[in-house]
């Protein structure tokens, strides 16, 4: 299935360019525009349902269809959610107005979109990536979504070569917030992390389910390149990115394409480019004539939105704990870095509260974290108290790590939730610390040469000593506990 692009100027990355890129001679400058569908019951300016997947053209009303004489009325809950996500992104929430963005397209029922232009509801925020890198957020504003068109007769449902198109207005008028970042991103991984973190925040505050695959979160990337420290160069807007992974690939490709142009002395033309997942390149869809002139002006059918401090404070007070803070709590409790993989994964899954509950019940947070990361089913099936008990059994050395893993599997599979009972059944006897210590003393006594070498700093000598203890305990000793004892006994 090949698609013919008009004016195809797709760049083919060469090894050369890739190497120059990776040597840091160039840096990419990326800003992201993310559109999120808000989780309201009704549309932004009318009371038709805001629902995905219904029969075409069933969630319609005069406003949705842009019928003559129809008038918009703003949805209070959309404003509430916009304030919520604005505060979660550290924005200033301000008095805002609506504007008309005028252009013709069949899925735009009024031939103008009601959006916010001069005075958006949210400004000057930021989002910190898990590793601490801060991406500035320029603005967030409310706007209405368009309908959906499907194309009949062409290849693969594309516009190109189609015989006609069919328009469904169910989605027209659904509330969106467009979040515009500053061009602070310098690496595809940062872009991916931004989108992932943003999603986590949106879901946490209940503003949106933010699913790229379903279209409730859409990401466009503005990409340019420059030599570090120099002024910004011309950028291109990349559209049609449908997953986090595609985002990374698209940005990488586009940056290399632009570097090649700069190095060949050719201009980068400011344009919108379409990411093609199949061939892994960006393309222009047509030659750029006059850019559409949107003729923005204040929407005369709506009035100013001025939430005021009472409303804003109320929203702020009700904000839930955000992912970054949840990671910090786990990091604190477990001693690991906030962007350690286990913490990232467990928080993203929403299982951090479960781990912290186990910790509060006396468990070892780090150990509990490890197990939940590796066996996500724990959270749904095993009480936090059981996890707490298991984790202290392991951290004290009473059982080994691999024994603990077995117990976890048993708890999940069988539904019994008493780790001590399971340990007993499986014959994982709690190894007495004094028993262990006497075994260690015995091993030292039996291998004085190894002991002398170990004390002198030869780490390798430890192996023989540990091995002896493992043999004596028939494999039940916890290697880590043995090592700890040996180290403690060093003069």
């Amino acid at each position: 299935m090949s698609i013919t692009y008009v004016n195809d100027d797709a760049y083919h990355p060469s090894n050369d360019a890739h190497e120059r890129w990776s040597q840091g001679e160039w840096e990419m400058v990326v800003g992201l525009e993310v559109h999120v569908e808000l989780a309201t019951q009704t549309k932004l300016f009318s009371a038709s349902p805001n629902r995905f997947g219904d029969e075409p053209n069933t969630n319609i009303d005069p406003v949705t269809l842009g019928l003559p004489g129809a008038l918009p009325v703003l949805n209070r809950q959309a404003v509430e959610l916009a304030i919520r996500l604005g505060l979660a992104l550290n924005c200033t929430v301000q008095k805002s107005t609506f504007a008309r963005k005028n252009y013709f397209y069949p899925d735009m029922p009024k031939a103008y979109q009601i959006s916010q232009y001069d005075e958006p509801i949210n400004i000057d925020g930021w989002l910190d990536l898990p590793d601490g890198f801060r991406v500035g957020i320029e603005r967030g504003h409310l706007e209405e979504d368009t309908g959906k068109s499907s194309h009949v007769g062409g290849t693969g449902g594309r516009i190109h070569g189609s015989d006609y198109s069919l328009i469904d207005f169910n989605r027209a008028g659904v509330p969106l917030v467009e979040i515009v970042s500053r061009p602070d991103i310098r690496h595809p991984e940062q872009a991916k992390a931004y989108v992932t973190e943003l999603r986590g925040i949106l879901v946490a505050v209940g503003a949106s389910d933010a699913k790229m695959e379903e279209g409730s979160m859409r990401v466009d990337a503005n990409v340019s390149v420059r030599k570090p420290g120099e002024d910004f160069n011309t950028r291109c807007e990349i559209k049609n990115v449908n997953s986090v992974r595609s985002l990374g690939r698209a940005i990488e490709y586009e940056a290399q394409r632009q570097i090649a142009l700069h190095e060949a002395g050719e201009p980068v033309v400011q344009q919108t480019r379409h990411w093609d997942e199949n061939d892994g390149r960006t393309h222009t869809l047509r030659s750029k004539e006059d850019a559409d002139d949107y003729r923005y002006f204040l929407e005369p059918d709506l009035v100013v939105v001025d939430p005021g401090n009472d409303w804003i404070d109320r929203v702020r007070a009700a904000l839930p704990v955000l992912p970054a803070e949840r990671r910090a709590i786990l990091a604190d409790a477990s001693g690991q870095a906030a962007n350690a993989e286990a913490i990232m994964v467990v928080v993203e899954r929403g299982q951090d509260e479960y781990v912290m509950e186990a910790a509060k019940l006396g468990g070892d947070a780090g150990v509990a974290l490890k197990h939940v990361k590796e066996a996500p089913e724990l959270a749904g099936q095993v009480p936090a108290a059981s996890l707490a008990t298991l984790s202290t059994m392991e951290s004290s050395g009473a059982i080994t790590a691999s024994q603990a893993k077995t117990i976890v599997a048993a708890m999940i599979d069988s539904g019994t939730t008493d780790p001590e009972a399971i340990a007993a059944d499986l014959g994982f006897e709690a190894m007495d610390t004094s028993e262990l210590e006497s075994m260690v003393d015995q091993a030292i006594a039996d291998q004085p040469d190894a002991w002398e070498k170990f004390c002198a700093g030869e780490g390798k000598a430890m192996g023989a000593l540990v091995g002896a203890v493992m043999k004596a305990s028939k494999g039940q000793a916890d290697g880590k506990a043995v090592t700890a004892l040996l180290n403690a006994k060093k003069p």
Binding site: P68, A111, F297
Partner: protein, 478 residues
Amino acid sequence: MSAFDIASKVRNGETTAADVVDAHLARIAERDDEINAFNLVLNDAARVRAAEIDEIIAAGDDPGPLAGVPVALKDNLCTRGIPTTCSSKILADWAPPYDATVVTRLSDAGAIAIGKTNLDEFAMGSSTENSAFGTTRNPLDTTRVPGGSSGGSAAAVAAGFAPLSLGSDTGGSIRQPAALCGVVGVKPTYGAVSRLGLIAFGSSLDQIGPFAHDVSDAALALEAISGHDPSDSTSIQQGPLDLTAALDRGVDGLRIGRITDLPTGASPDVEERLEVAFDALRSAGAEIVDVVVPAFGYGLTAYYLIAPAEASSNLARFDGVRFGMRTTAPDTNSMYTATRTDGFGDEVKRRIMLGTYALSAGYYDAYYGRAQKVRRLISNDFKAAYAQVDVLLTPASPSVAFEVGAKASDPLSMYLCDTYTIPSNLTGDPGMSVPFGTGEHGLPVGVQILAPALKDDVMFQAGATLERHMQSERGVAS
């Protein structure tokens, strides 16, 4: 019979709604071929509704303060299932799936929609000559225009086709035709009447209002249709205007403003009647105060940059996709162009282009942006004037009704018809035209009363006094 009388008689059983409707339909059948006030006469629907009203009366219930009163509706007001054309080819066969709020409120008050009246296409014009369905003629002299854009509604009342009609006023489109046809026409405070279901021309300027033979009927109609509508975000936050009580207040002690720097251009006969109006109010106890409104004259320019700009956006939805006329073409973009080129008349196209230009990149600040600042100046000047007076008096139209075709070749000369009415659309203040005698060729002259926002009752107060003077003038003459 006035609307007030009809409603009384229907409610107390002296007459039936069916008889009232039949009588008016007969008058329409007799004379509308000549006048062309109506795009559509609702013969069947009106009779059905009349029967319903009569049933309600028979059951001992009250259909409302406008029981059995026939009302003509300007054809830019949405009526469910009934063609609403804006007198344009592009909407020639379109029937909306919903009623305008004013239509619902009239019906709830017991009124009966008797027909959809002709207008300048999309309400753009001052003579009803820009209609795709032929010109409407002035019932008082059919060689002349009724004014516009609500010419059909004005003519319908003037010709006795209905005691009440509704029009819309963006730059004077109720008040100017009212003056030319010798009837009362009111543009209320912006937001007093819901715009839901009014097919928009200039959204920050449009208001719906009544035509009637007398001030009291106009008050009745406006009370029925005004008041907060949650479906219109710009609608006032209070209930219906309270106007009837003001009608007998008189003008003793009221301060009437004479704008000494008013733009010239009114013909001598109109000026003369305005003077008589000042005298009449003075005799009735009002104080006449000289005021200035220096920016008044810039209203025309501000309006003809703002209104077309808003219209260019409001009319973009007429694209052949979801409703209305479509001219087939090989692709969507060409379809838009073919449909709109075929479907819109010349004046509409002219204003769309002017408005698009005024908003376009590089020109916004010089045109639309500048015009909105001029609007602020005008508003400030009026506020200053209203600090000294309660109402202002001006001509409604610069001249009596002109001949059909007289201004058709010069759009600019047509625009000047709205010189005195435009500023109150810009400020959002109310204005009404009250018939006040005749001028050249024995044609009617209207006097315009302007009042500050939400002082519609004071405006009616002065209007009622002028009307009483005219009644006594006629009494003396006969």
